[in-house]
Every structure is written in C-alpha cells, then in structure tokens.
Amino acid sequence: MNKKAKQDILVCILIYAFMLFCFWQTFTMKSGSDIMPRLILALAMICNTALLIRCLNQLKQVSAEGYTSISEIKIPILMFFGVVLYALAISFTNYFIATAAMILIFMLIERVKPVWLILAIDGVYLVFIYVLFVMVLKVPLLK
C-alpha cells in the first residue's frame, strides 16, 4: 500500500473537518458577510475532493516516496515548543532576558563551541537590537 497516499488521505480528511468547522461558523455571521467565506469553502471542497480521488487512485501503488515519519518531525516540533516557551518567557520577563537565555540554551543544546563564542554572539546581537529597536525605533522591548 502507498504510505504517502494514505498520509495524503488523512490530510484530506483533516481539511474536510476544518472546512466543516469554518462552514458551521458562517451561520453565526450576518447575512451578506457569509457570502465570501461560503464561496471560498465551496471552491476548497471541490479541490479537496479532487485531491482525495487522486490519492485513492494512488493507494494501490507500492511506494513510500515523500512519506513523512514521526521521527522525522520530532526534533522540529520539539524546537517549535521551545520557541513557544521563548515567546511565553518574553511575556513574563522582557525580550532581552528571554532572548539571551534562548540563544544560550539553543546553542548549548546544539553543542556550539567554544562557550565564549556563544556569549559573544548573544552580546553583540542584543546590543544591535537595543540600538536599532529601542534607541532608534523606540520599540518598547524592555517592558
């Protein structure tokens, strides 16, 4: 069985679920405001059905080309959660503290050596951001 086609079918089902949710939401909209979203959803429905039929036709072919395994996406997803934590840290502290910690931790995990290089990159970057964004552009990054 074609693993890639099976994965694409799952994606199509997820898209159907998402479209169904979006369509249900249009009932909460005022008359007139719902025209455009419904038109778009109708178009998306046609495209997704065509994609699903194509995937079903490919199902019997023996191929795993383009298949995405869980182990492949594990590290990028872990990194993404790290970035979410970084964004939360900005909310609780400020951009400079959170960024200094993020760069340091990220590079230590990725085994960047020597440590003084990490500290130098961290320092230069933060000074650059302070001068450009805080001093010149008056972006309140210290709040």
């Binding site: 007139g32 998306a44 990194m79 964004a87 960024t99 993020m102 760069i103 990220f106 972006v139």
Partner: protein
C-alpha cells in the same frame, strides 16, 4: 526646471540625505518585519528640520532601497525582509542552496536597480499622462485586478495544482478574518479583539517563510547537515556581476517587469508585493521552461525584483501629479510632502519655487536606485557568506529576529503568537507538499477582490452588473487578460507539443536559448 533640480541635488544636505537614506533603507529592508512603510513613517519627524529637497530625498531613497534590501535575506535565508520580496524567496534560496547565492543576489541587485531607474524615468517624463489612466479605474476594475492576481496561484502551486489551490483557499479564508467591510460584523474572530482588524500580513509571512524554514533547517541539522548549502555546493566564489550572455536572456523579462511594476505602482492601493507576484506569473507563463520557476530560476528573481522596485517609481506618479498615493508608503509620504508645503498637482511641476524641488526629488530617486545597485554589488560578496554560517548559530538568531520583527509591527505580543501559529502551519504545509506562497498572495488579494466586488454590486444595483461591465473598456481588457492568464499554460503546452512534433530540433534550440 530639470537643470535647476540637478543644481539642487548637488547641495551637501541633499547628497547626505541620499546616501544615508539609501544605505539605511537597504539595512531596514533586510530586517524581517521592518518594512519600507515603517521606515518612512519613522523618518517623517526627522525631515522636519531638513530642507524640502533633502527631506523628501531621504524618504524616497529609503523607500526604494528598503524594497531591494528585502531580497537579500529572501535569497540567503528564505526570510523575505519585506512582503514585496516574498516572490523572490523560493528561487533565490534554491540558488543559495546550490552555492549560487552570490549570483542570485547579483541578479536581484542589478534587476532592482534597473527596475527602479526605469520607473524614475517614467516618473520624470510620462507621469501626468499615466496618472490619467489610473483615474479611470473603478471598483470593478480593482476587483478584476484582484482576480487577475489570484490566477497566479496556479503558477505558484508547485507540483500539485489541487494542493496549490487549497493553499490559496486557506489564504482567502484568512483574508476573511476580521470585521466585515460593509456590515462591520465580525467574521472568524472567536471573540478575540485583536482578530477584528484581521490577521497582519507581516507576522503571518514571517511565520510561513522564516520560522518554517528554521524548522526545516533544524531537521537537516538532525540529519547531519550543518549549513543551508547543499552537500555538493560549497563553492561561493565567482562574481555577482552578470556577464552579457547571462544578462541577455533576462532583458525581455526586465523590460516586461518594469512596465508591469510601473502600471501596478500607479494603481492606488497596489504595492510592490502585488507587482512582484503579477510580474513573476507573467514571466513564468511566457517562459519556455516554467518548470524551473521555484527551483532556482534567474528569470524568476529578475521578474519579481525588477517589478517591486519599478512599483516604487510608479507609486510616486499619481502621488506627485494628483495627490493620490499609489501604495501604502506613498500615502505616508503624502504627509511628508504636505508638511514641506509641496502640494501635489500639475502646478507642483510648473511652479518656479516647487518645480526645481520636485525635479531634484525625481532625479535623486533615480540616483538612489543607481547608488543602491552599486552598494549592493559591493557588499554582496561579504553578505553571501551568511550561507556558510552553521545553522546551529543562525537558527536562534533568525528566531529572535523573527520575533522582534513580528512584535515591532504593532508592538503586540499577539502578532508574535500569530507568527508562531503560521510557522507551524507553514512547516506542515511544506512537509505535505502544499506551497505557502499562495497563502500570502491570497491574503493580500482576497480582501481587495472582495471589497471591490461588493462595492461594484452596490454601484450596479440599478444598471445591472453586465451592462456596467460592457460599458467599461478597461474591465473588458482585464477580463480578457484573466482568461488568457488562466489558459496560457495550457496553450503554451499545446504549442510546445506541436512544435516538438513538427521539428524535434526545437527542444534543443530552446534549451540553448535559455
């Protein structure tokens, strides 16, 4: 008047404004999240203490060079510095991965310079005549322009057209988020106040292009790859300058994209982002090798970069002649002109006091484009070395820059969260073969098309839409253009097949030409 303008341009304060504006604009444009409009808005108070010529020269120099600056990070890091460079990212980054980053930036630099300079000449010589055409555009024409832009999705779809169209639909749906233009009723806001003004383009774009690319790079690092370059592409030597045989095939695209850029720039509300996408699509449709687009095509870079810089001059045409801004940045610049007592209109060019100032600004705009090209070619040999820096060092810096760039747009943490959401969406979309460029394009054009379509429906309530359409020659031309854009890939395929069937040597000839 032109001679007096030239004399004014030699004043030290104008020259300083020109140099500072050009270099500063390039730098700001290269920073993700810092757009030309933000730079111009922030610089308007700085111009208070300057002369009219120096102040506006500073603004126009920043405007044009910021648009170019966006292409540097688009090519090297798949992180467009401005939305206008989004179309450059795919081809530029593909070339960087192949070790041809220097040539990619060289192409972007030269084409940006040529596009900007041609638009400056258009501004100088044909401004009043061109601006009259723009005045004839009604909401129906704008709707058709939006639809014409959306036909591009087909060419951005990548290998799977259905997936590309689905990406476009997602972008259109995201464009629906916010208050409805007519009833002010919320759509897909889920009670979140920040969503009522819609999803901001810049954080969404940073997420889709930049954060998703970092996630891909981390995946590569886990597989043992250390830099963005492909394993067989470690050679970064060479010249950013294009030789004549390299430049010659790009010239028709440069000419075509300059015209498209100027025309799009003249239209109020349409900026460099729309200009570059339309030009990219037109170049792809006209190409004998459309399959190269998105995989490292110099013609693709030339098309988008020429057009987005040509838009800058085009946007100044209705601004100076009619007081109608052709883009968001031009709208901010209108304020700067008024503050300096330069009231747009025909008199601005003929008045003995304001005339030399305006011609000085226009010539300075052309000079800024040339200076930008020169500086770009000088620094690109150093800048391209970014592609040899280890991803483990670049990735946290790109994350931190993307965050500050998203935050700086409205100084809101909400936009940072938007960037994160779009980052993970972009990663999975690319992972499962859905192109991300159609999302950005649809986010830009969807609201334009919807707003103008609904306005047209109101206008034509009595006369009827078809009657109204048939009385407007520009609309008919645009409708024909849409049909041609939709069916041209199919027609090109049939023509190529027939040509190959009748003469098998054609394939070899076309390959040689390109």
């Amino acid at each position: 008047m032109i001679a007096q303008g030239l004399v004014l341009l030699t004043q030290p304060d104008v020259i300083i404004a020109l140099v500072v504006g050009t270099l500063g604009g390039m730098f700001i444009g290269a920073m993700p999240g810092l757009s030309a409009s933000m730079a111009v808005a922030l610089l308007i108070p700085v111009t208070f203490s300057m002369s009219g010529a120096a102040g506006i020269t500073l603004l126009v120099a920043v405007y044009t060079s910021a648009i170019y600056g966006g292409s540097i990070t688009a090519c090297l890091l798949h992180t467009p510095g401005t939305p206008a460079s989004a179309a450059t990212a795919a081809d530029g980054f593909a070339l960087t991965k192949q070790g041809k980053g220097l040539k990619a930036i060289g192409t972007a630099t030269i084409c940006s310079m040529i596009g900007g300079t041609i638009s400056a000449f258009a501004l100088l010589f044909i401004a009043p005549a061109l601006s009259q055409v723009a005045l004839k555009f009604s909401s129906l024409e704008y709707f058709l322009i939006g639809v014409f832009g959306l036909t591009i999705i087909g060419s951005l779809a990548g290998d799977n057209m259905m997936k590309g169209l689905l990406s476009g639909c997602l972008g259109l749906l995201i464009g629906c988020i916010g208050l409805d233009i007519q009833s002010s009723a919320p759509r897909y806001c889920f009670g979140v106040l920040e969503l009522q003004s819609g999803v901001q383009l810049v954080p969404a774009m940073i997420g889709l292009f930049s954060l998703s690319q970092v996630m891909f790079s981390i995946e590569d690092v886990a597989k043992g790859k250390s830099t963005v370059l492909d394993d067989n592409a470690k050679n970064l030597t060479g010249s950013p300058l294009l030789s004549w045989p390299e430049l010659r095939p790009l010239l028709p695209t440069i000419a075509q994209s300059s015209i498209i850029g100027i025309l799009v720039g003249i239209l109020p509300g349409a900026g460099g982002d729309i200009g570059s996408w339309i030009s990219y699509n037109t170049a792809k449709n006209a190409s004998k090798h459309p399959e190269e687009f998105g995989h490292g095509s110099y013609v693709g870079i030339a098309a988008s970069e020429t057009a987005n810089n040509a838009v800058t001059g085009g946007a100044l045409i209705p601004l100076l002649t009619l007081g109608i801004p052709g883009s968001g940045v031009a709208a901010i610049m209108l304020g700067g002109l008024m503050i300096k007592g330069l009231n747009p209109g025909y008199k601005l060019f003929t008045d003995p006091v304001t005339g030399p100032v305006v011609y000085c600004i226009i010539i300075a705009f052309a000079a800024a484009n040339v200076l930008m090209g020169g500086c770009g070619l000088l620094v690109c040999k150093q800048v391209v070395k970014i592609s040899t820096v280890k991803m483990t060092i670049l990735a946290p810096l790109i994350i931190a820059l993307s965050t500050v760039g998203s935050y700086a747009v409205r100084q809101s943490m909400f936009d940072v969260y938007v960037m994160l959401i779009f980052g993970v969406i972009g990663y999975f979309m690319r992972k499962y073969g859905f192109a991300t460029a159609p999302v950005v394009l649809a986010m830009i054009l969807g609201p334009i098309a919807e707003t103008n379509f609904r306005q047209t429906l109101v206008i034509t309530k009595r006369t009827g839409l078809l009657n109204y359409f048939l009385t407007r020659p520009i609309s008919i031309c645009l409708a024909i253009l849409i049909v041609v854009a939709l069916f041209s890939p199919l027609l090109m395929k049939i023509i190529n097949k027939k040509a190959i069937a009748s003469d098998p040597n054609v394939l070899a000839d076309t390959a040689h030409e390109d």
